[in-house]
Amino acid sequence: MSPGPVLQLKDGCAVLSGTWTLAALVPRLAVLQGDLAAAAAGAASWDLTAVSHLDSAAATLLWRTWGGAHPASLAASEAQRHILDRVAALPPEAPPPVRPRRSPVTLLGRVVLRILHNLYGLVALFGQLLLDGLHLARHPGEIPWKEFSANLYKAGAQALPVSALVGFLIGITISYLSALQLKTFGADLFIVNILGISIIRELGPVLVAVLVAGRSGSAMTAQIGVMRVTEEIDALATMGISRTVRIILPKVVALTLAMPLLVLWTSAVALVGGMAAAYLQLDLSPGYFIDTLPRAVPVANLVIGLAKGAVFGFAIALVACHFGLHVRPNTESLSAYTTTAVVTAITTVIVVDALFAVFTRQVGMPQL
């Protein structure tokens, strides 16, 4: 190994020797910086001729030690002078631009504007999809069947196991908790009403929506986002293929169609779970459960549940695609937008659910 950087003071002259490179400097930087500062204060002349390697990191260090100017007398080789000159030639640093402090009002305004901007984007995307739908109705040959069925499979069929598992467990939990309460009132038989209405009308759709937003929504945003980062979307556009028809429409339609089916499936499994728990807890026979269900839960509830499913699916896909299309080409933005997409999708689902609750409050309640 070559010797590291050495600094000696010889009657008013700072003599440097050894290798002055970043790798050699780093291990003893603190000591060296102190020595250099002391030398700069005491020595008027500097001798670099014994230095075997001088790199630009060391040159900057020296330059900083000298306070940004050549020392009164400097002995250095041609190459070393060249390196130092390069450091000297750097333009004086412009002060970093000061960021104006933002008042809370401006920040709030920004948030509101961003929300409006996103709303506008969502409406515009929706309009584009409608136009694409009209276009496809007139040119049925261009309908992207393959993408549609692939999305249906990915977002629908592959979500069956996990939604069944979650539904089953939720069914058991609710049934078990309700049973404990009902028992104290002796109102055991109402378990069917409670489970039926809550699961079919409310829990099933919302549960599936949350699952699907996390599962398919994030996947859609990430996929479209990466396609933007790698310029695949631009490549599609160059071939004259509409990105909305080929990428977004199949996703939105597939999820709108798959969600009601998933809701039906999950609600059914949740009811089975509830039925099992009711049997174990209250000794309510499954036969009685199935018999009573249609009377306790008017069919309008099922319609509402399925309609919710379709609307939720549409909203999730639309939100996910919208954010995917706005990912900026860097990894940070990709992760930020995926997070935003999922959060926004779930929030939208809850808001829409509340609207459903308000507008359908007179529909589907059993007459007792």
């Binding site: 930087l29 603190a30 990191a57 900083r64 990894t331 940070e332």
Partner: protein, 258 residues
């Protein structure tokens, strides 16, 4: 004095991706201070070879030593120490897309964890100036750069730590001829000042003739010839004949000598 430790020593290296054999019993040595131009057809495994030198890829068989240090050494500290001695310019830049140009170059410097921010700023601006970029370019994000600028920023990042070994994957592809000449001049100058070794993959004869003092030809899954450019050109091998196909090669050589 004993012979200096070679910067890179690859011995009997075999590489395969699944069934496909990319390198078969390949030997390559780079002496300190050498500027080695690595040429070979597209898809012949040049990038793969560089990745093996970096330790990003393990060869199926054979050994690779950097500065006498075996890359299979399990000690993570030794691994990091040897990695810090080399800089790599990736074929497609491989800039961190979430960081600005400035932060990309500052990143390896900050990782040293002992330089103060003012020093780092000065060093970054120095590197930017070396690759002919202006300080204001430091605020751009990688996605906002042109292809040639990506190359230059990547080079600035590769030389940020003042490496002893620089690996360049097609450094001048995508640069205009003027920039590419300047690039050759810059590397040459740095190489003279710092005496580092360079391994450079290139398809550009001007760069090859202007910069390298040795050439290695990768064909038929191993190094078929290695030595000074003039010696290589007289080797009788179909790839070499095609690559330097007389007039083209001679013209470039003429240029370099003038």
């Amino acid at each position: 004095m004993n012979a200096p430790v070679p910067a890179i020593a690859m011995r009997g290296v075999w590489t395969r991706y699944k069934e496909t054999v990319i390198h078969k019993d390949l030997d390559l040595t780079v002496a300190p201070g050498d500027v080695l131009g690595l040429v070979g057809g597209s898809g012949s495994g040049k990038t793969t070879l560089l990745r093996e030198m970096l330790g990003l890829l393990r060869p199926a068989r054979g050994t690779i030593e950097l500065f006498g240090q075996d890359l299979d050494d399990p000690d993570p500290l030794a691994q990091r120490a040897v990695r810090r001695r080399l800089g790599m310019l990736f074929q497609h830049g491989a800039l961190f897309s979430a960081l600005s140009v400035f932060d990309n170059i500052a990143f390896p410097l900050r990782e040293l964890k002992c330089l103060d921010e003012a020093w780092i700023r000065q060093l970054v601006h120095l590197k930017l100036a070396m690759v002919e970029l202006e300080p204001r370019h430091g605020r751009l994000m990688p996605a906002e750069l042109s292809g040639g600028m990506v190359k230059r920023v990547a080079l600035a990042r590769a030389i940020a730590l003042e490496p002893e070994l620089l690996l360049l994957d097609e450094p001048t592809a995508g640069l205009d001829p003027d920039r590419s000449d300047n690039f050759v001049r810059l590397i040459k100058q740095l190489q003279r000042e710092l005496g580092f070794s360079v391994v450079m993959v290139t398809h550009d004869l001007d760069t090859l003739a202007g910069l390298s003092n040795k050439v290695a030809v990768l064909a038929d899954q191993h190094i078929v010839a290695s030595g000074p450019l003039l010696d290589i050109m007289s080797v009788d091998h179909p790839f070499i004949r095609n690559f330097f196909c007389c007039e083209r090669g001679l013209a470039a050589l003429q240029q370099a000598h003038n």
